[in-house]
């Protein structure tokens, strides 16, 4: 491959210059003259709509239209699609784009207002009177499970799905185990909470009968398919573009959102541009949350801490509707196993309806909960046996010579859960070294001498990344030598324009500066799955590499003819095809691009110059001679199954003996996502993920009252960490290539967030000597835990700080 070494280099990002100068184009930056939409949303968690009276709104200046469910035609009026059906989802339910008779969570859209600007739209919305008959609200996992009231009349027990995963005879294994523990764990709701909310902007072209829609989405091709289907338009008459997107973290993978159907529909109906920009309050109550689970664990193990049987019963809160199916329960119940060999395993997830905002994947997508469960279990086993927590993990690890390792379950892609590669003992050794695991007792003693209380914690995970079914790439070299790369999946800040350019440049042998990347634009690439599950680099990265290889081969074929050489003797360096070892026998790719098209109108100098090469001179053959015109190529990458990245995190925390505040003194990450395309970008992904994990561990929760009101629906009260809350994160990488894909890469997007709650729980437990079984943990929570542990010995650990203190006295 040509001399441009760009794969693996920490090059600066291509997207930065525009984003740093205010030239980015996010959804609300577009459509300056568009009409604005606003929604009347339910103030009740559960109620029957008796009447909607718009009279007072009609005299609002600038009002254009008001729509309720009654106004919606045909397929627009139908319930939104259930995206991912699954046999276990026996009672899947989705919402109507505008509520039909019953609202099932605060924030559910009831009426849409279109007006000259958003101020006026909000004025009109505030004057629409909706008469509700409130119904009993089901809030919280336990209340849902009690099922005294139902979220959907036709869903008995509020149970949407019961999912079971099992290998071996878990009851027998636990029965026979020398040690058995049983306990309960709780994780509360958080949310993706990108700083840019959702948004949709639609333009109808009446002359052309076509629709152009911009959406702040993680899946523009699927949004297009949904709009085309709902509005009865041919796919070719709908374009969907994800412009610059201000963060996604999962919430923008859901599609179509009601607004993604309603805004284009209204734009066509009104023949006017219409835009809806979600505000922050809407985002809290009308987008999606994640994480809430209650886990009941029963584990049997031997004297070494080897897990012989693990039985987990999980209650999962999926909110009012299930548009995204049971993906989170599947991920939790499979990824729970982490880097370990577990004797026999059973996980039963009961997925429950509540009168709260829907639950769909947020970075990690069920993994943080699964890892919390497994890692808390490891710590419990270590404490029970009085063994080192790292040593207990060590005896359970899958060994490097056991790959590919079949966990015997079915993963989220419907394929067997087979780990492709990894070196977990090396990860453990490296994280222990990085955090100073083995010398921590001395550090603890030094701190204790100063009256300070510190603790250390550890968490390990395996993350299935790069799930299929496919992504595609298109690579085209134009007659000025520029390389245009397109892929259908979208970007929300991950630096795809940079890493995909690096891949294409490396494959083609061109300077990375010559490569332009477009993502998430159905005009450039029509088939894609989307950006989620840490899949973009693996899926589109490999697809682009394959497409680039096609283009390279084609370029070499054409150049070989021009140079009268054997293609096998050619290589490409800095955008020039030349004979290996003879730079004088050369033809630039821009010329090859001209030669690739038998139509040689001399629009530019390059085309004129190209006439010196007599290509296609054989009068007996058709001019194209079996090639498509143009120096371009398209290919798809479709893996047999996912690839599995892994990592281990460790932290040292200090707890204030008086105020019960938790401070993270150090945080270390060792991470293995195969070959790194751009280490700086991977590092950034880890930093950001850890910060979100810390948010979930110590700060963020969704506080619903019993009537289903979200009490902290603002940035004042939903406590996302600022810079002052996040410690410096120390990172190290292992690179175990994936054997599954041409580039040997694994995904990295979610790695940072996955084990953080487990790590912080482990460290706080170690500092305090009190069992930590729920997250997040506020100072008030820790204070109350301390009080309870004073009275209840079962809440105290045998090892760690408290035990040391008690031994000392």
């Amino acid at each position: 491959m040509g001399g441009t070494r760009v794969f693996g280099e920490p090059i600066p990002r291509r997207e930065d210059p525009r984003l740093l100068t205010g030239q980015g184009r996010y959804l609300d930056d577009l459509g300056r003259d568009a009409l604005a939409a606003a929604f009347v949303r339910s103030p009740h968690a559960h109620a029957r709509i008796l009447d909607i009276d718009v009279t007072d709104a009609l005299d609002v200046d600038g009002l254009v239209a008001i729509y309720t469910w009654e106004d919606l035609p045909g397929r627009v009026a139908e319930p939104l699609p259930l995206l991912i059906p699954h046999p276990s989802l026996t009672h899947g339910r989705t919402a109507y784009p505008l509520a039909r008779d019953v609202v099932r969570h605060v924030g559910e859209p009831v009426a849409m207002v279109v007006a000259r600007d958003r101020y006026l739209a909000e004025d009109a919305a505030s004057r629409i009177r909706v008469d509700y008959d409130p119904l009993p609200a089901v809030v919280g996992i336990e209340e849902a499970a009690r099922a005294e009231h139902l979220v959907h009349d036709d869903v008995p027990g509020n149970v949407g799905a019961v999912l079971e995963q099992r290998t071996g005879d878990v009851d027998a294994a636990i029965e026979a185990a020398p040690h058995v523990l049983e306990f309960r764990l709780d994780i509360e709701r958080s949310a993706s909470m990108p700083l840019e909310g959702r948004g949709v902007y639609a333009r109808w072209d009446a002359d052309d009968g076509s629709l152009r829609v911009y959406s702040s989405t993680q899946a523009s091709t699927s949004v297009r398919a949904a709009i085309a289907a709902k509005l009865g338009l041919p796919p070719g008459k709908v374009e969907v573009i994800a412009p610059d997107v201000g963060g996604g973290f999962g919430v923008k993978i859901v599609h179509p959102w009601p607004e993604e159907i309603l805004v284009p529909w209204a734009a066509r109906l009104l023949d006017r541009e219409v835009k809806w920009t979600e505000d922050r309050r809407e985002h809290f109550v009308a987008a999606a949350h994640e994480r809430g689970q209650v886990q009941h664990v029963r584990v049997g193990f031997d004297d070494e801490g080897r897990v012989l049987g693990l039985d987990v019963r999980i209650l999962h809160d999926h909110g009012a509707y299930t548009p995204y199916g049971v993906i989170i329960p599947i991920v939790t119940s499979t990824q729970l196993l982490g880097p370990y060999k577990i004797g026999a395993y059973r996980a039963e997830v009961v997925s429950l309806y509540t009168n709260t905002v829907i639950v769909t994947p947020y970075r990690g997508a069920g993994r943080p909960q699964g890892v919390f469960c497994m890692e808390r279990t490891m710590d419990r086993i270590a404490d029970h046996l009085g063994r080192d927590r790292a040593a207990v993990r060590e005896v359970n690890l899958i060994r490097p010579d056991e790959f590919p390792y079949d966990q015997g379950l079915t993963f989220q892609d419907g394929r067997p859960l087979i780990y492709d590669s990894g070196d977990y003992p090396a990860l453990l050794a490296r994280i222990k070294e990085l955090i100073g695991w083995d010398s921590f007792e001395e550090e603890r003693a030094r701190a204790a001498a100063e009256g300070r209380r510190i603790g250390i914690g550890l968490g390990c995970y395996v993350e299935g990344t790069g799930v299929g079914p496919y992504e595609g790439g298109h690579v085209e070299i134009d007659t000025s030598g520029r390389v245009h790369v397109a892929t259908g999946l979208t970007s929300q800040g991950q630096g795809h324009e940079t890493v995909f350019a690096q891949i294409a440049a490396a494959e083609l042998g061109v300077p990375v500066e010559d490569v332009r990347v477009t993502t998430g634009d159905t005009r450039r690439f029509g088939y894609a799955v989307g950006t989620f599950a840490s899949r973009a680099a693996v899926m589109s990265g490999n697809a682009i590499a394959l497409a680039a290889r096609k283009v390279r081969e084609k370029a070499l074929r054409i150049a070989a003819e021009a140079l009268e050489a054997d293609p096998r003797d050619l290589e490409i360096t800095d955008g020039v095809v030349h004979v290996k070892g003879d730079p004088s026998a050369a033809v630039p790719l821009r010329t090859v691009a001209v030669l690739s098209n038998p139509l040689r109108y001399a629009f530019d100098e390059e085309a004129q110059r190209a006439t010196q090469f007599a290509v296609g001179g054989d009068a007996t053959e058709p001019p194209l001679r079996g090639e498509e015109p143009g120096l371009e190529g398209r290919d798809y990458y479709s893996p047999v199954r996912s690839t599995f990245a892994a990592g281990m995190h460790a932290a040292i925390v200090e707890t204030d003996p008086d105020t019960a505040e938790v401070r993270i003194l150090r945080y270390a990450v060792v991470h293995d996502c195969g070959r790194l395309i751009n280490p700086r970008i991977v590092e950034g992904q880890i930093h950001g993920g850890v910060a979100q994990g810390i948010g979930g561990a110590l700060y963020e929760r969704m506080v619903y009252d019993e009537s289903g009101q979200l009490l902290n629906a603002s940035f004042m009260d939903f406590l996302m960490p600022y810079a002052t809350e996040i410690p410096r994160i120390e990172t190290a990488h292992l690179e175990t290539p994936s054997p599954l894909n041409p580039l040997g890469i694994k995904g990295a997007g979610e790695a940072g967030v996955i084990p953080v709650s487990a790590v912080i729980a482990s460290a706080v437990e170690d500092a305090e000597g009190i069992r930590v079984h729920s997250m997040p943990l506020s100072p008030d929570d820790l204070y109350r835990l301390r009080r309870r542990a004073e009275r209840d010995e079962s809440l105290r650990t045998r090892s760690g700080a408290r035990a040391a203190r008690e031994r000392a006295t």
Binding site: E122, D123, S126, N712, M716, D717, T724, P779, Y783
Partner: protein, 320 residues
């Protein structure tokens, strides 16, 4: 999240402002820094008919050191005409925080201001606005209360000076009447041999405190604690002030001030607080925390007082 419509008034003089306020009474809201009011408007939690934007009124942005040395000796609460800091209605938090004169005369003010939200908010928010907003979880009401300061209210009908003890009447409620404008606030100066401390615990840096304490400790000539007053935020419906002088004397119990045993004071404080729970912390924790912070603040304020008492001149000879 866009403000509802309102009639907008931008008076150029105080007299004009008072006329508008008089005309619209309770239907008018004063806009100064807007850091509390505009969020309420954006969420349409407040829908006033009239906004009186005082940002163009001349002469309201003063931060002045006023009064004489002698006046400063007057007992707390009786210092309205004494030495101190007079902060005008348009003085931004940042201006007061950065004023060397203020720091010299009343160091509790900059100490507390550093905890008010974030620097960017302090660039725009005003001290008097914070007081008028009367949030019991906010820092400045507790500071005004513990120092026994006052608010100067003015209306078309005339002026009145409202002592802090009467000013804060409930959560987000003050003694300001419809038609009245809080023109300035007065924070009495720190007497000699007196130290201060401000400490709070918040969920995130810059958030409203779960509980916070502003402490003022005075020493007599023999370096015995002569006064110990503590103002609390976040533990009651209004900023709460406890006079802990007798407890502090007990805590000192013949020891040098730096060696006082403050733990008993914390217990006393816990017995005298009845905080409300909210989504960030329960009542028990807030009560506990208030005790912890009291101990810390009294210790720090005593150290500060000792420092000032032992290095006279350094602190008292501030620039005027």
């Amino acid at each position: 999240m866009k403000p509802p419509p309102f009639a907008y008034h931008a008076p150029a003089t105080l007299a004009e402002a008072l006329d508008v306020l008089a005309a619209h009474g309770a239907d008018a809201k004063v806009l100064a820094g807007g850091q509390s009011l505009i969020p309420l408007l954006n969420m349409r939690l407040a829908e006033p008919g009239h906004i009186v934007d005082i940002n163009r009124v001349a002469g309201l942005d003063g931060v002045r050191i006023v009064g004489s040395e002698e006046d400063a000796q007057a007992p707390p609460g009786g210092r309205t005409g004494g030495k101190g800091v007079r902060v005008g209605a348009l003085a931004r938090h940042a201006a007061v925080e950065r004023s060397a004169g203020v720091a010299a005369v009343q160091p509790l003010l900059p100490a507390a201001l550093r905890h008010v939200a974030h620097p960017v908010i302090r660039n725009r928010g005003t001290v008097v606005g914070s007081l008028a907003h009367a949030d019991p979880a906010a820092e400045l009401p507790a500071v005004l209360a513990v120092l026994g300061g006052t608010v100067e209210a003015v209306s078309a009908a005339g002026r009145r000076t409202i002592p802090a003890a009467d000013f804060f009447t409930g959560p987000l409620e003050s003694a300001l009447r419809p038609g009245e404008l809080a023109e300035a606030a007065f924070f009495p100066a720190l007497p000699p041999r007196t130290g201060v401390a401000f400490t709070e615990t918040s969920r995130r840096h810059g958030d409203y405190a779960l509980a916070g304490v502003a402490a003022v400790v005075g020493l007599d000539e023999d370096l015995r604690v002569s006064t110990a007053r503590v103002g609390y935020l976040g533990v009651a419906a209004t900023p709460l002030v406890l006079d802990l002088t007798p407890r502090a004397r007990q805590a000192q119990d013949g020891r040098p001030p730096g060696a006082a045993d403050w733990s008993g004071v914390a217990g006393y404080v816990r017995d005298h607080l009845d905080p409300e729970p909210d989504i960030h912390a329960g009542a028990d924790y807030r009560r506990h925390l208030a005790g912890v912070l009291t101990e810390r603040a009294l210790r720090a304020a005593t150290a500060d007082a000792l420092d000032r008492a032992q290095t006279p001149g350094v602190h008292d000879e501030a620039e005027w």
